[in-house]
Amino acid sequence: MTVYLLCFALFLVGIYGIITKRDLVRIIISWGIMGYAVNLMFVLFGYKNGSIYPIFVKNAPVLPQTMVDPLPQALVLTSIVIELGNTAMLAALAVRLFQKYQTFDITKIRRLSG
């Protein structure tokens, strides 16, 4: 149970980063940290004590009962790729914003009224 709490703490560190930090790069970084925390927690849900990776090997027959849960691993593989796509788009947006506003400070990027 403590492992899940530590993952949730890492998630909260990410939220802390997004709320308090002012420049774009740190916001992208803290979103990355949130993504790591969620992915890790998802895989930790699937771990079974004393069991091995879910790959059958030719000459070492392994009982399926002694294998880890493969489903969270498949889903987290997808969410890691989603995380990379998101980082790429946020980085592209931040670069264009720097080109237009000459700063990364989100408080100075205030062209939108209201």
Binding site: I18, V38, N39, M41, F42, F45, L71, G85, N86, R111
Partner: protein
């Protein structure tokens, strides 16, 4: 059997557009319009074929808990019709409009991916799959919001991207915890397993999903990103965002999760009612003070979505009927208003109501259709807005909550006030403005006329004869909460 084609066809078009994309984008335009028309016909055909029971399609030939299933009951096909219809009108509108910004095939490929994402979210019966298709829709929306290459658009798109990523992180956290508790991902199985768990689990999962998908539906506490994103996007895209995206990604998913999966817990219904009413009032007040036409429309979207949440939160038959009907109406007249803003922008190059003048003579179609849209959004009798708001208010009174009914009525008056302001300044103002010759093309005008006609036609849905065939089947799906689960598990 037709269900997967709602995702395959637009996805294949997006890939083919990127393959054949040359210098000019006319190929992309023709292809996407043909595809959109075929999707619309397909969805209307499906709506009358499905007779109340859910149609199940097993992906890659595996049963429900093992593989992924696509589920289509009348609620999801109703949403598919709205998505394809508004997408069709947006495409017709953007043929000429996008030539002003920067004509290239990217726009049409991303538009097709946006439609794929929404169709995927609506059709799927699997929790993680819904998350993946929500991500596709959001990525396409970020790129399209930043399509105009101006500084405000990058700023709006960055803020939208950050809010979207935070909500996706919450949704993924929710999916993780749901999987840990129920160890299955199909919505029907989750619902069945959650019944045996202690209710604290459902509350916790519901809370996280409310935070995640509430952010996408821009309910009151999470509405901050919507005015920036919807006002600085190109007009057809903000029509898609306001009219359809916050409904398909926000309202539809919350209905599916909180009614069919979690079985309509009383506390969350109460939360919907309270948040909905706050959205109506605050959205209305904020819209009063706006002079930028598109920002005013964005704020009014928040308050109109508040009506939908009020209707759903009541949980009674009439409340849900009003909410579903208002969902359809709002998609129509809000898209129409954004098209009007777009045509004003191309004609006069400004969105500020104070600078606009006597548009009635210069752009007759735009001013007439915007009058129709303003009347129907503020609930003037012959138009559709009046009936849906009336049903919600009556439902609130019947459900024994006169305060919310009263606040909803006030909200409707506020809407009337700021739309009259739009009409007085925007369309019948004093200063004469010269307009470029045929700035507003035939395509833009025809899109506006189609939607204006629809504002009148949809008010016929209230007639008892037609209502049974259409709206009642949808409300029946939402009302018998566990019906969805038993149909899917029953007919594996």
């Amino acid at each position: 059997m037709i269900l997967p084609f709602f995702i395959i066809i637009p996805l294949l078009t997006a890939f083919v557009i990127t393959l054949i994309s040359g210098e000019r984008d006319d190929w992309a335009v023709i292809l996407s319009i043909i595809v959109e028309i075929s999707l619309l016909i397909l969805s209307v055909f499906c709506f009358f074929r499905v007779d109340g029971t859910a149609v199940i399609y097993k992906m890659s030939n595996w049963k429900a808990p093992i593989g992924i299933i696509l589920v289509a009951d009348s609620l999801s096909i109703f949403m598919l019709i709205i998505v394809s219809f508004i997408a069709l009108t947006s495409l017709i509108f953007s043929v000429h409009y996008i030539r002003h910004l920067s004509p290239s095939w990217n726009y049409y490929a991303l538009f097709m991916l946006l439609v794929t994402g929404m169709n995927g979210v609506i059709a799927t019966g699997d929790l993680f799959n819904m998350f993946v298709f929500v991500e596709i829709t959001l990525f396409a929306a970020y790129a399209l919001v930043a399509y105009g290459n101006r500084a405000e658009e990058f700023e709006a798109s960055f803020k939208y991207a950050i809010m979207g990523s935070i909500s996706s992180a919450f949704v993924l956290l929710g999916i993780g915890i749901t999987y840990a508790m129920t160890s299955t991902l199909t919505l029907a199985n989750i619902a069945e397993v959650l019944k045996q768990k202690d209710p604290m689990v459902s509350l916790w999962i519901g809370g996280i999903f409310l935070a995640g998908f509430g952010l996408k539906a821009a309910i009151m506490p999470f509405h901050a990103w919507l005015p920036d994103a919807h006002s600085s996007a190109p007009a057809p895209i903000s029509a898609m965002l306001s009219g359809v995206l916050i409904k398909a990604l926000g309202v539809y998913v919350l209905i599916r999760l909180f009614f069919n999966v979690l079985g309509g817990i009383a506390i969350f219904n109460e939360v919907f009612v309270i948040l909905g009413t706050i959205s109506i009032l605050v959205g209305g007040f904020l819209a009063m003070g706006q002079w930028d036409f598109k920002r005013l429309l964005a704020y009014s979207s928040i308050s109109q979505v508040g009506y939908i949440f009020l209707g759903i939160g009541l949980g009674t038959w009439l409340g849900i009927l009003g909410a579903v009907f208002h969902l359809l109406n709002h998609a129509i007249f809000k898209s129409l208003l954004f098209y009007n803003a777009g045509s004003l922008e191309t004609a006069f190059g400004t969105r500020d109501l104070r600078k606009m003048g006597n548009v009635a003579k210069a752009l007759p179609v735009t001013s007439f259709t915007s009058m129709v849209a303003s009347l129907s959004i503020s609930g003037v009798p012959p138009f559709n807005g009046f009936f849906s708001k009336l049903i919600i208010i009556i439902a609130a009174i019947q459900a024994g909550r006169p305060i919310y009914a009263f606040l909803a009525a006030i909200g409707s008056l506020i809407t009337l006030a700021y739309y009259m302001k739009v009409q007085r300044f925007g369309f019948h103002g004093k200063n004469i403005l010269q307009v470029e010759k045929n700035a507003v093309s035939f395509g833009m005008n025809s899109a506006m006329i189609i939607l204006a006609v629809l504002c009148l036609v949809t008010s016929l849905l209230i007639v008892p004869g037609i209502r049974e065939a259409t709206l009642d089947t949808i409300v029946a799906v939402i009302m018998n909460k566990t019906g969805y689960v038993s149909q899917i598990l029953g007919r594996q």
